[in-house]
Subunit: 170 residues, 3 copies
């Protein structure tokens, strides 16, 4: 094989791998909602590394066992029984070799006596790692978009060069 | 061409085709909302195979003719006239050669005298097939996430190894 | 290199480039919400070409300077301070060499004294161009889905062969 051919093939393989990685991470992130809304506790936990962290405003889950326990909890089971959607937007992904970060939004929608209601809109930031079993979450941090400063900070943190405008910074 | 080179090229072609398939299916699923919310009846029906099935909670549509008729119906035309969004989440797709399944969520949002309201959140499960005209839907089943057991069952059914936790199963 | 090999490599390179283009445009469109909801005014404006247009129902912004000013405006800063999500659906993209169009939906969700509310659902149509710095928006037109005819027209316009059914056209 000539050097030119080898380089061309290697370039194709590298680029294709990046495209596949982005699809795989998207698939991982999009699988959370259908798994959690159907109470598939083991599969939800399996999206994370064994010691992965899921950091939500009110609760910090460290490791698969705590994530599994959240899905099995009475609170979560009641959401499922009443009707619930953890609707996720498509993620914006940034790859860096065997690491990646992603940002997306989630909407928690619950069914109640007056019909469906939008309980909250949340900023999501994911850190992921390529493992022998494919991509897994290392950390997922969720912050509700209710005006707390952490939430827009979390959104902006995904874009290295981004700078938040603030009135006092003028 | 050497065997090694042939294998490397064939592997690239296969992997690229899978990536393209996933994009094409995503595109098909994402085209439903803008076509149905603008009343493009023929194009909506054309997303399905001629004998494709669209199975919604209240109505079972068998074949393109019935799907087209739904879009042209007075009910649907009134949704469009008043303002309506069949907002779809990005699908999670599983390929299997010339067949595929996908799961996603949809939100039906309607405009009314008091502004926009979330009428329902729904679990969607698609079965698709590669045809001479590209990917087409064979079956789409929608179940509203209002607490009925069918809906989380439908979400979980997309993930072969997934198991729903239930209190009584402990 | 034989002609057959050259053709096979060139075909792979072309197809892969189209797949990458679709991912890059998706990434551009999905970056709008986290950037605008965190007030990253320069980065929001940078999604457009220097003379790009952002045409929303109530306001027409021509050029990056006007887009930047919108993000820095008191109105927009108040949305961020109170809690706000410009939730975007994944785009349906049509490539044409160095040009592209995309259609998607956005939901504007705002936090208020009674919790989160869906302020509006909007049809989005993007025109994009490949530049030396990657894909950039040339035009983005948003029309609220409140029953005005422009909005379903905008959705349908993305699909060249699509035809809107209308009662009077029967």
């Amino acid at each position: 094989m000539t050097d030119a051919l080898e380089q061309r093939l290697a370039a194709l393989e590298d680029r294709l791998r990046a495209v596949e990685d982005e699809q795989a991470i998207t698939r991982l992130i999009l699988s959370y909602a259908p798994l959690v809304d159907s109470g598939c506790a083991d599969q939800v936990a399996g999206l994370w590394e064994p010691d992965g962290v899921y950091d939500v405003d009110e609760i910090l889950m460290e490791g698969q066992q705590q994530i599994r326990a959240m899905v099995k909890s009475g609170n979560h089971q009641r959401w499922i029984a009443g009707g619930c959607a953890h609707f996720a937007g498509a993620p914006h992904i940034t790859l860096d070799g065997d690491d990646a970060t992603a940002v997306c939004y989630t909407l928690m929608i619950v069914n109640g006596p007056d019909g469906f209601a939008l309980r909250r809109a949340t900023a999501n930031h994911w850190t992921l790692r390529r493992t022998d079993q494919g991509w897994r979450a290392v950390n997922r941090t969720n912050r509700i978009l209710d005006g707390r400063e952490e939430s827009p900070d979390l959104l902006a943190s995904h874009f290295p060069a981004a700078e938040r405008f603030r009135k006092e910074s003028v």
